[in-house]
Amino acid sequence: MTALLELRNVSRSFGGIHAIKNVSLTIEPGQILGLIGPNGAGKSTLVNVITGVHPASSGKILHKGDAIEHLKPFQISARGIARTFQVVQPFPGMTVVQNVMAGAMFAAGISSMAEARKVAMAHLAFTGLAPLAERPAQQLTLANRKRLELAKSLAMDPHILLLDEVNAGLNTTEVEQALDLIRSIAARGISIVIIEHLLKVVTGLCSRIIVLHHGELIADDPTAEVMRDPRVIEAYLGSRFAERQMVRP
């Protein structure tokens, strides 16, 4: 069976700096993957390369068997690969519902504005933002802006969703709510790759974890094994933390 998304020896350099080196991995339908690594490990770069924001310096990226490494961002979005930004990127002057309509109209290809609005409202309801539909996007709290970003991505009708530090800046309650939302998204059959610093999120949510360090992939295993992997522990976790995490049920 062809993997949903496959990366083969993907590298990306900026000038002399190798942001990611020889990364190979596959993503299957219905998985929730964690992508972890210290700051500067290349996690965001990887997402940028997959979504076409930066072209890969070398390597291949295959989506359902088709090569996509040379496609532009809008083409990759249309194929069903969506992402959220670490620093949220709304359309500030537009209302919440209009923001989501943008996703429906373009990436999901809905040509009628009325139809797009209906779809947008449905996604707003799903993410709990329906009461705020007519608010200008710039008036939203940070937590709601993150939800808006999610709703917009969902409106793009993706089957792969890349979440870049979606919990940054949220308090504990907000993080819990965000996790519930992510689980319900996964329940719809969408594969999710979540870049995270909060390890409790990653261990609680993901069945499989990918670890990047200095641009290289140093682990790609089920969660429990990654937590025990000495290279990962050394690079990122610290042994005492790993032990503490393993004790929890």
Binding site: V53, K72, F74, R83, Q89, P90, G93, M101, M113, M156
Partner: protein, 311 residues
Amino acid sequence: MTRLQLSLVLVATAILLAMPLVGGNYVLRLATIMLMYATLAMAWNFIGGFAGYPSFGLAAFFGLGAYAGGVVQSTGVSIALAWLAAVAVGTLFALVLGFILLRLRGSAFAIATLVVTEVLREVTNGWTGLTGGGMGLNLPFFGWSPSALSAFFFYAMLALTAVTFVTTFIVAHNRLGFGLTCIRQNEDAANIVGIDTTRYKIYAFTLSGGFAAATGGIYASWIGYIEPGDVYDVLFSIKPIVMVLLGGMGTVFGPIFGAVAFLVLDEVVWRSFLELNTGILGLLIVILILFLPAGLASFDVRSLWRRAVTP
């Protein structure tokens, strides 16, 4: 469209259609100029207002249309064909130029479009064989009476303004307008959300260039004599921008209201100061920018204005 807007449109249309019958040549001439600037303002609005790309090159297309139309007309061909030539040349040039220049953002784009105007003027000036160079281009006269001519060109400009308006309306209410607005507000997000930003920007730029060129074509035939310095005048780039700033960027009615407001001010205030004409225009612009950040909507008629202007 709201009821208020629809009634405004109907009243305005009625007045305009009746004008040649009730107005004298002077009024008609004024109205024709107003229509011309309204069209130019709407033309700029596609790329500057909707897409948010500050093009300072409207005069380039205006001049190009004037000369394309003028040169074709001088060969003796019908005026309609001349005007078609103007539109064709303007649109094609916009397509090519847009493809090259729209990769630039912000200031670089603005000044690059400004320089294009200068370059076209230089080239037109030098190509004496085709354009008459600095001696100008004389356009054949129909042999109609002055009032018939005034009425003819008034209706021609009115037709163009109507077409531009309808196009603006359609664009504002469909995917293209929505996409352009997204591009204006956050181009990176627009890319990610699935908008082919390059293509959309080129559409906007081409619409802007095509309509400006059409206006130039009609202008050339109307005035009867054009020189490179007349039509490749940076003021044809700047005034429409000021009008749109005045009336409301990226809206359907804003450019028209802005054009009317600007030209009324023009007639009333500084026709009397011939020598200081441009200086006073400059002063108005400075005041507009520094003290009226939302254009005319900055005044107390704010909510009424906004209701009137946003579809």
